[in-house]
Structure formats: structure tokens, C-alpha cells
């Protein structure tokens, strides 16, 4: 049978069959891999939270054992959800499920309806640690991270930052230890627990002032993005800590 493959009918038929076949293949692949991908995201979040508090590599926590190790440090039943004025509006496991990246991007969500989770953890010695998730904008795309406070709720014990598409070697360095270590021992509030803004500086004065951090050469916009992200989030959380300690 002579098939006229230049006819309109054949062209349409070919296109439809091809699209349906490819659609089925891709849809079943995406469905099949979904549980694995969701688990990857969850594990990554656990590792990110823990790495604000300690050197996860040194402790030997990686993707393979994170789900087992995570509850040893962070008790999700203690986690708290705040609103944007720093008032507690929820408690427990729901804090982990909040996608703050999505809420940050969501233009239809009013600021007062956004939720801010706070994780309460214990480090190896049993001292309390408060872990604050933050999210913001870098030069090319989203940046996010976790800030871990010591039991005094003022001093930073450690941070972990991450980014999606910052410039390698420049802005992308925000997730390197040398930059994250600069945040250690800095203070989020003054002696009377009023929030004190962080400043990312260029003049190398970061180590002299507890609320100044040395930026990254060549990564100015990303560094400024980190500054904005940290300040916006900490302003909310420091309210909560202030109320907690003046009650």
C-alpha cells in the first residue's frame, strides 16, 4: 500500500501518535521516579538544617543515613511556626512541611499570612540550638539557608547557605566554609535583645564588629542578597526571642 507520507492526514496522524507515545513515556517515568525525588528533597532539607549546627561531613552524616540521624538532633515535635510579627501560631511536625521558598515567591500570599518555621535542636553536648530557615534572592536565582543560634538566642552558632545558580567562583562561594564561618559568633541582637541589622562589608572590617560580615570579592550582589535575606528573616525571629526572654 502506498502511503503518502506528505499528505496532511499522515502528517497530523504522525504528530499525534508521536506526542501521545512520548507523553506516556515521560509521564510514567516522572511518576515512577517521584517517590525517589521527594525523598531526595526531604533528605537534603534535613542535611541542610543539620549543617547549620555542625560539620555534617565530619560527623559522617550524608544522604544515606540522614533520615536516621536527623531525629537524634532535631525533635520536630518541638518545632514552632511563627507569623510575620514573631508570634507563635503553630507547633510540631507541620513546621518541617512548610515550603518557605514557595511562600516567599508567592506574590498572592500576603506577608501576614506567611509562616516562619523555627526548629529546636540539641547539639552533641545537649545544649539547645535554634535553627532558622531563611530564603532570598541572589544575582541569578534563589538563595536560601539556615541560621543556627546558641542557647542564649543571640549568638550565631553556625550557618549553612545554598544557592541555585550563582556565578561559580564568585557568588556561588556563599556555600563555602570560608564564608559561612565568618558568621559564627556574630550577634543577631544587642544586649537588650533588640534586633541589630547585619551588614555585609567590603573593607575587611567583618571580624571587628559582631554584626558585620566580610562579603565575597566579585560576589557583591549575591553577598547583598544574603544580607537582605538574613535581615528580613531575623527581624521576625528576633521579635519572638525578645518576647520569650522578657516574659
Amino acid at each position: 500500500m502506498a502511503l503518502n507520507k506528505e499528505s496532511n492526514g499522515f502528517t497530523f496522524g504522525f504528530a499525534i501518535v508521536l506526542v501521545v507515545v512520548l507523553g506516556i513515556i515521560l509521564a510514567s517515568l516522572a511518576e515512577g521516579l517521584k517517590p525517589l525525588k521527594e525523598q531526595n528533597v526531604r533528605v537534603k532539607k534535613q542535611i541542610d538544617i543539620l549543617s547549620a549546627m555542625m560539620d555534617v561531613e565530619a560527623v559522617g552524616i550524608d544522604r544515606s543515613n540522614a533520615e536516621k540521624e536527623f531525629p537524634k538532633y532535631v525533635n520536630l515535635d518541638d518545632a514552632i511556626v511563627l507569623n510575620n510579627s514573631g508570634t507563635e501560631i503553630g507547633k510540631g511536625k507541620e513546621a518541617f512541611e512548610i515550603d518557605i521558598k514557595k511562600e516567599y515567591r508567592d506574590k498572592t500570599l500576603e506577608t501576614k499570612d506567611k509562616r516562619f518555621p523555627l526548629f529546636i535542636a540539641k547539639d552533641k553536648t545537649g545544649a539547645s540550638r535554634y535553627i532558622i530557615p531563611v530564603v532570598g534572592k541572589g544575582l541569578w536565582g534563589p538563595i536560601w539557608g539556615y541560621i543556627c543560634l546558641k542557647e542564649d538566642m543571640r549568638t550565631v552558632a553556625g550557618v549553612s547557605f545554598a544557592h541555585k545558580t550563582e556565578t561559580p567562583g564568585l557568588g556561588a562561594e556563599i556555600n563555602k566554609p570560608f564564608f559561612m564561618d565568618r558568621w559564627k559568633a556574630s550577634m543577631i541582637s544587642d544586649a537588650s535583645r533588640n534586633f541589630k541589622k547585619y551588614e555585609v562589608v567590603k573593607d575587611n572590617s567583618g571580624s571587628t564588629d559582631p554584626s558585620k560580615i566580610d562579603g565575597i570579592t566579585g560576589g557583591t550582589i549575591t553577598s547583598k542578597g544574603v544580607e537582605e535575606m538574613v535581615n528580613r528573616s531575623l527581624a521576625i525571629y528576633s521579635n519572638y526571642f525578645k518576647n520569650l526572654n522578657t516574659k
Binding site: K5, E6, F10, T11, F14, A15, L18, V19, L22, I25, L26, L29, A30, L33, L36, K37, N40, K44, R63, K164, T165, T167, P168, G169, L170, F178, G218
Partner: protein, 225 residues
Amino acid sequence: MSTEKKSSEPLFSKKNKKLITDPLTDNNPVTIQVLGICSALAITVQVNQAIVMSMSVLFVIIMGNWIVSLLRNLIPSRIRIIVQLLIVASLVIIVDQVLAAYLPDLSEKLSVFVGLIITNCIIMGRLEAFAMANKPWPSILDGFGNGVGYGAILIIVAVFRELFGSGTLMGIPIFGNPLPGEESGLYELGYQNNNLMILPPMALIIVGIIIWVQRSRNKALIEEH
């Protein structure tokens, strides 16, 4: 047009071998045809990324060439480019999904660039120029040759950029510890990483140097003006 001599030809005949070796040397898709330059700029900062990118492109180009070659007598010529694009896009999504599920860390690093394989001119170029007119087996070889030719350049560029830009290879420090205050190795002597290496223009310059070296070794490649 496809009824040339039946499969009496050996699998690795001289002609077929040429399909693999040509793109590696005198017809390299990057340095001679100057295709796929955009990704050569984007993901050659680290060798690891360059390797995964090369493997992904290799998979897509081999599978794409093979599938298009199998369908070549069916594809209506009026919509052939869209059909090729659909096949390439589907293969790229498969790569992206598999990476996200099994190599999540690398997939995060490559982020958008895996998706951009779709726009890699080498792949569409080979589908249109070769697979549409040749049998499946030569098409697979052609895809393999071009994929490896592309990957080789990518990895060479990445080795230079990572070594001189970050002082590491595949993440392993080569020149010592560059951290201020705890320098060791070369850094102790005052050596500094070259930040220019990390920026995209340097990839172009390195590709340019490779092209220069290649053409000065083989004068036949130099175009008449």
C-alpha cells in the same frame, strides 16, 4: 534512498570507523564546526560537571540519532524539525529526571544546563544532517563520535579552568590550601588562583587556543580567505 548495499558491510568497516574518528580530530563539532560553544562556556568550571554533561549529551545524541534514523522514512518532511526537537526534548527530560532521582547533588549543580542540552546545536545538527539520511547503526556511531568529540573538548577546557581557577581537579586540591592564614603548598609561595579562569570569557579563550593548536598542526584545516 536507503536501499544501499544490504548489511553485508562489517560493523566497524573503514567507513564506519571514520564516523567515530572524524569528529574527534579533523571534524570536531566544537573546534572545527564551532557548535555547542554555549555549553562549553557554562559548565566547564569544574571537571565533574563537564564529565556528567558530556555523558548526558552522549546519551541524548546516540539515542536521538538512533531513534530518528529508525523513523527517518516515516517522518513527514514538513514537520521533521519539530519531530526531531520532540525526540531530543524527551530524551533530555529523561536524563534530567534520572539525574534528579539518582544523582541529586550533581543534578543540583548542573541545574538548568541539562535542560539546555535541547538547544545544543550539535545534537539537532547531527539529527538533521546525518540521522535523517543514514541507517541506524552508522547513526549510532556518528552520535557516539560527535558526543565524544564534544565531551573531550569540554573536559580539556574544564581541566584548565578548574586547575588554574580553583586550584583543584575534580574537587581535589592540587596546589595546596589557598585559605588566607592557613596557606600551604604553592599558595605559601605567593601563588594565587586566577579568577578570570572561572569567568565565561576564559572558556572562549581556551577553546580558541585549542583551535589554534589544532590548525597549526594540520594546515589543511585553515580556511582560504
